[in-house]
């Protein structure tokens, strides 16, 4: 029995940019008012009429396999747990900000209240451990998010990935994110 390796599939075609995920994240994780763990950015319109497109971009931690935020941490507060989720140990974190500057996805912030680095955890402590899905996945009205074990070929996420072309953000950096994206199929190529 190997470990689980949690991932998330984001279908940017199904996403309508309603921000319900962002609000659910805020409520579930008590995120400080001044910061976000998650946003859905609406980019566009791009291209030329009539081939216009609006791209949707999920701005959050992408849960890299080779996470640049982990090796830079001077105290080991930033770590990848046995289920592939990149976490911060608040007790060990001194708030130096090195992980924040090292993250190519701008997924981290210094919590204004605690002074420690914080980020999306896929709701690990509060929802994954009890066997639920992350708050953003549960709330999504269009089922644009699928959460599951990437090590299990029969999981919903693995089945969905097999059916269609997917990308990962900033693949050139070889961070190998576990947030996998179905890119926009609409509009022109620009």
């Amino acid at each position: 029995m190997g470990n689980k390796r949690y991932g998330m599939l984001y279908d940017s075609n199904a996403c309508i940019g309603c921000q319900a995920c962002s609000i659910a994240c805020r409520a579930e994780n008590k995120v400080h008012d001044d910061v976000h763990r998650l946003q859905v950015r609406i980019e566009g319109p791009k291209g030329e009429f009539p081939n216009l497109r609006m791209d949707f971009h999920r701005q959050s931690c992408v849960m890299c396999d080779n996470a640049p935020c982990v090796p830079v941490c001077p105290t080991g507060a930033s770590y990848t747990n046995e289920e592939g989720i990149n976490m911060v140990d608040e007790k060990k974190c001194v708030g130096c900000g090195y992980c924040i500057t090292a993250c190519p996805y701008q997924a981290r912030y210094l919590d204004p209240k605690t002074g420690t680095a914080d980020k999306c955890t896929f709701c690990y402590e509060n929802r994954i451990k009890p066997g639920e899905k992350p708050a953003c996945v549960s709330i999504c009205p269009t089922n644009a998010l699928i959460f599951g074990d990437l090590n299990d070929p029969n999981s919903g996420i693995c089945q969905a990935i097999k059916k269609q072309a997917t990308i990962k953000y900033k693949e050139l950096l070889h961070t190998n994110p576990k947030l996998i994206v179905i890119p926009n199929r609409h509009g022109g190529e620009k």
């Binding site: 921000q19 130096c96 190519p104």
Partner: protein
């Protein structure tokens, strides 16, 4: 601000601000001042007492690194948890290696300064009672002679270069993620240390400054400045040649907004071409002459220009590096 997805301040904010820029400058200054003190030591006859430049080096290096460390600690999100850095090490982290280097360096730097000012501290009635019990430790290190010097030189090079590695390790920041950055910070750090030592020595320790040593350091700095210009040239050409985001960021950093102005007017103009001009027009005659008096004014102007350029270089790299991504 009005987007449906909310406030984006956290995504455009500078994470490492002026405190870190000043720290990067002070670390380089401290290392450079120590290196210039030891270079002078190696070509001096010590029977006549320590050269004013060595005293200046110690007077700069210890307070500079201490102030730098204070800035680092108070810039933390949880300043009073800084001790965690001394109990949890991660040798993959440049910052953690830096903590180790800084601990050894600042400790030995204190000893080095005590060696230089041994006579003054031991003879002054205000300090003697506190100083004398430690005299045997200080004399033991003094007795190590060149061995101690070499340890300090290696540590100083480590301190100046690590500040570059700290930033060049950031894959997410193309302007900083360049192999020459540690070299650039090392060379400019030594240059700032020499400039600082010369300035402090001609103001406070003029009596004990040997002019041949002063000229030696001045001529050394004159070689470092063109080297720095060349490293900057290599860095930007390298960014353009790497292509992709590196090329875009390289171009932005040289052409857009306040940081482009800081680069051209501040770093290249004031910090590098300025001193070359002062040296060519004024200080060169002094270097060549055997009996000209020490040109204190020109030396201070020259040092001021070099130090301004080096501190601006740290601000530029840190701010432009985090702005253009």
């Amino acid at each position: 601000m009005d987007q449906i997805w909310g406030n984006t301040t956290q995504y455009t904010e500078i994470v490492w601000g002026w405190q870190i820029a000043v720290y990067l400058f002070l670390a380089g200054l401290s290392a450079g001042a120590l290196i210039s003190a030891i270079l002078v030591k190696w070509r001096s006859n010590l029977s006549a007492g320590y050269d004013g430049i060595m005293k200046a080096g110690a007077v700069i290096a210890l307070p500079a690194i201490s102030l730098g460390l204070a800035l680092l600690v108070f810039d933390l999100g949880k300043p009073f948890s800084f001790w965690l850095l001394m109990f949890h090490f991660n040798l993959k982290s440049v910052m953690s290696i830096g903590v180790i280097l800084l601990s050894v360096y600042s400790g030995l730097m204190t000893v080095f300064a005590a060696v230089i000012f041994k006579k003054e501290f031991a003879e002054n009635s205000l300090t003697a009672w506190a100083f004398r019990p430690f005299l045997f430790i200080i004399e033991w290190f003094e007795g190590l002679g060149k061995w101690f010097d070499w340890v300090m030189v290696v540590l100083a090079i480590g301190i100046a270069a690590y500040t570059g590695f700290l930033l060049s390790a950031l894959v997410a920041k193309p302007l900083l993620n360049v192999p020459v950055l540690p070299l650039l910070f090392l060379i400019s750090g030594i240059s700032s240390g020499i400039a600082g030592s010369i300035a402090v020595s001609v103001i406070f320790f003029k009596q004990s400054v040997q002019e041949s040593n002063l000229k030696y350091l001045l001529s050394f700095d004159t070689k470092l400045i063109p080297t720095e210009l060349f490293i900057l040239f290599v860095m930007f050409i390298g960014l353009f040649n790497m292509g992709g985001q590196y090329a875009i960021v390289g171009q932005q950093a040289l052409t857009i907004g306040i940081w482009a102005k800081v680069f051209w007017a501040g770093i290249v103009g004031i910090g590098l071409l300025g001193p070359l001009l002062v040296i060519t027009l004024s200080l060169h005659q002094y270097e060549e002459s055997d009996h000209a008096p020490i040109p204190v004014g020109a030396l201070l102007v020259n040092s001021g220009l070099v130090l301004t350029g080096v501190i601006l270089l740290r601000f530029y790299m840190l701010y432009a590096g985090q702005t253009f991504i």
